[in-house]
């Protein structure tokens, strides 16, 4: 029996179908979850997809965080359910306090959509085991509110505990200078943080979109995003 991975659709979710496709390409069974449903349909893991849930009104992720499905996900995540938050999903995870810190508007005040180079800092999480630590990957990034912030103590703790999972690094792509004043860090995130994890490595959030790097014909034309989904699949199968 293959593993079932839930993908939540909030009102305003956009990349939910793309995430389902990525899960399917990785060999797992995607299961659609609805924000008004507390039932997780016995899935083995959950992805909170990208988009503008509730129009990003109030704050990105702030309203979704109080939806019925999140009530269950928050409780289950605390007892080990693997959760991946992508972009808006990452914002929901910080609003729900499943991950520390918060997301703010990009420092250059523009939406930015580009191919982004990342370094995998932690390959021991449930969602990154198929990467090698230190590996550099290209994953598309597209967001308005991607600036990760937290107080210095929290940042130091994340670094000390190895909980920074991805960092923005310089690559050929941003040398084109598409957005003036934007270097390798596309949004002003503190310490170049692109993604983090919780204490146990089961919950991971990141701004870039691995589901748009799973096929050579579309997205960024690479498959650097597939290991996210094969990692969790292996974890679930061996569990």
């Amino acid at each position: 029996m293959t593993s079932r991975i839930g993908v939540v659709t909030f009102p305003g979710s956009l990349d939910d179908r793309d995430t389902q496709r990525a899960i399917r390409l990785a060999g797992a069974e995607p299961v659609a979850l609805w924000h008004k449903d507390k039932d997780l349909k016995q899935v083995d893991a959950v992805v909170l997809p990208g988009g503008f849930s509730y129009g990003d009104y109030l704050r990105a992720g702030a309203i979704s965080r109080f939806s019925p499905v999140m009530e269950t996900i928050i409780a289950e995540a605390k007892s080990g359910l693997p959760v991946l938050g992508i972009c808006n999903g990452f914002q929901v995870l910080t609003e729900a306090h499943l991950l520390p810190g918060a997301m703010l508007g990009n420092n250059h005040l523009h939406f930015i959509c580009r191919d982004q180079k990342l370094r995998v800092e932690n390959s021991a999480t449930a969602w990154t085991a198929d990467f090698a630590a230190g590996q550099e990957i290209h994953i598309p990034l597209k967001n308005m509110d991607g600036r990760y912030v937290a107080d210095a103590r929290t940042l130091d703790m994340l670094e000390a505990e190895g909980r920074v999972v991805f960092r923005y690094v310089a690559g050929a792509d941003e040398e084109a200078g598409a957005v003036p004043g934007v270097g390798h860090n596309p949004n002003g995130s503190l310490r170049d943080i692109a993604g983090i994890t919780n204490e146990t490595g089961s919950v991971v959030g990141l701004m870039p979109h691995p589901e748009h790097a799973v096929e050579s014909l579309v997205g960024n034309g690479r498959t650097d995003g597939l290991p996210f989904f094969t990692s969790i699949l292996k974890r679930l199968v061996s569990a």
Partner: protein, 754 residues
Amino acid sequence: MTLDTVDNATRTPDVELPWAELGLKKDEYERVVEILGRRPTGAELAMYSVMWSEHCSYKSSKVHLRQFGEKAPRSDALLVGIGENAGVVDVGQGYAVTFKVESHNHPSYVEPYQGAATGVGGIVRDIIAMGARPVAVVDPLRFGAADHPDTKRVLPGVVAGIGGYGNCLGLPNIGGEVVFDACYQGNPLVNAGAIGVMRHEDIHLAKASGAGNKVILYGARTGGDGIGGASILASETFDDAKPSKRPAVQVGDPFQEKLLIECTLEAFAEKLVVGIQDLGAAGLSCATSELASNGSGGMHVVLDDVPLRDSTLSPEEILMSESQERMCAVVEPEKVERFLAICEKWDVIATVIGEVTDGDRLEIYWHGEKIVDVDPRTVAHDGPVYERPYARPDWQDALQADDANKLPRPAGGDQLRDQVLRLVGSPNQASKAWITSQYDHLVQGNTVLAQPQDSGMIRIDEESGLGVALATDGNGRYAKLDPYHGAQLALAEAYRNVATTGARPLAVSDCLNFGSPEDPAVMWQFAEAVRGLADACQELGTPVTGGNVSLYNQTGEAAIHPTPVVAVLGVIDDVARRTPVAFQEEGQLLYLLGDTREEFGGSAWSQVVHDHLGGLPPQVDLERERLLAEILIAASRDGMADSAHDLSDGGLVQAVTESALLGGKGARLVVPDGLDAFTFLFSESAGRALVAVPRSEELRFTDMCGARGLPATRIGVVDGREEDGAVVEVQGEFSLPLTELRTAHETTIPAVLA
């Protein structure tokens, strides 16, 4: 004010109504009285005035637009033609595609962010109203000079509005244009296009049939947005921005629109909808009169049931409100409950506001009293038709005589090199990545090609790889020199851009942006452009499926360049076969397809180097365009070209620069026999493309071109990687490091706009 009911209007025939303030001419008002056999009520006047405005009725353009139907080529692909919300084209495997381009020019000048945002919202609702799932948007934009203060005010707002709204809907933005020209100062052109996909059996039309069927208004509540916007904002010249018009601008809510899309598609999937119409310009006036007039019966509407955001609105205002994110569906009584349940699932407000009746009248009630009683056809379809006078302007001859071919040309390699850098770094030719990086082009996971590729391409079937391509093009400078051929060149370029990516051009939509139709010179430009476009569509076999006309784009006496923007839709059997712009492999051979002549009228070179506009635009040879397209499609299908780029504004050197920079690879070029280096690099002769051919395919490729009679000239080779210091070299003339070209090409737009 007391309620002006139909009874009241009959009893008080002599009451004067403010028809002039609502934009009606005296004879138009008299025609309304004649149709009704009495004076209209206030509500009826509101409906007629807004539906008979230029924007809604096409009263000045209709007599010319007929040619698109009369000259339509026979095409088996056209499933739904002009007249519906958007045309529908058969793309095979049971799929149908609908696409359309619309203008939101005036609103975007008044309030750039909201004007552009609601432009995206409107075109997307047009697509849903055909039963299709929207799959992509494109945005052809034109602004004043790049360094003009007006451009700095308008452009960032427009770009942020398109991104802010479109990104939030989850629709990839895959194409469009950004053009700068002083003629658009005070009259930016903000056109928005969208593509939707459906199965053949799912096509929906805007009609209300079947007595007893319910009329459901769903989406946002109705507020005071854009009241009279259609008639006042879109049809009247404004000499300068009057702050008093600001309240007439609609405010968009992309989140609401996203919910509207999802809940409409779910209702379609369950086959709950008989007819559907979006609420755009003229709001409920338009939706009710069009639904009723296209159906078989009449309609009874209770305006009290319209959910309001502002409880003080009068019935006239409710009818004219242009509040965004609303749709109107006609649903059989037994399916109403399910329809409302779907709306509730998506937290979308839905209300039954009326029903289809047996008669042929549109009757609207307010507080139990009848305030509208009209034949809906007279509102929606029997608007005035003007045969506006037109005449070739007296300055046209002098403009054409001012030959750009006589301008001083660069002498020697150093001057050529310098002018190349100026050209590729000029605002019109420079990279627009600063703008397009603010749009999400990836969402939905089916984007195969997006800007800066020649056309956007979307996969519509994951199994078979079936895809569609869309290109939009327009060149106001060419059209100013010769509107007939300028319009044909716009079509030819979009057609070519679809073909260079490997897709087969199928159908056309257009957005015709012109000055005031009351100026005979402008009207001549319009008539010529339409005639040119209709003739060319006939010859290329690509029918016009629909479009949009935007008039009164002028400030005082000064009209914009005539700017027909043409969108061509193409189909490709397998998107894996698409041909990108970027050079792929070192050592591949560069071939120039087509004939290069000394053609500089309206060229980018004449603008950048001489600030000149005069002479004649490039010759049009549609038979050649068709042959070129066939060769490009065959090369894609049979793997003979690894990259291809259309040649248009900026000529060969522009194409080489873009292909080189996108691929990060240099090129060594040789000026072919019979051409001078300047003409080789800067000529804008139409019907040409640059292709990179793998050496193993060279013979097969040249044999194919030779057999079909298409000139193919070997002009060089892809050579060197950027990181190793690659150059673009024209043998015996100059050499330019890629890094220097990149700086020139990519820093201009951020520098002028950031």
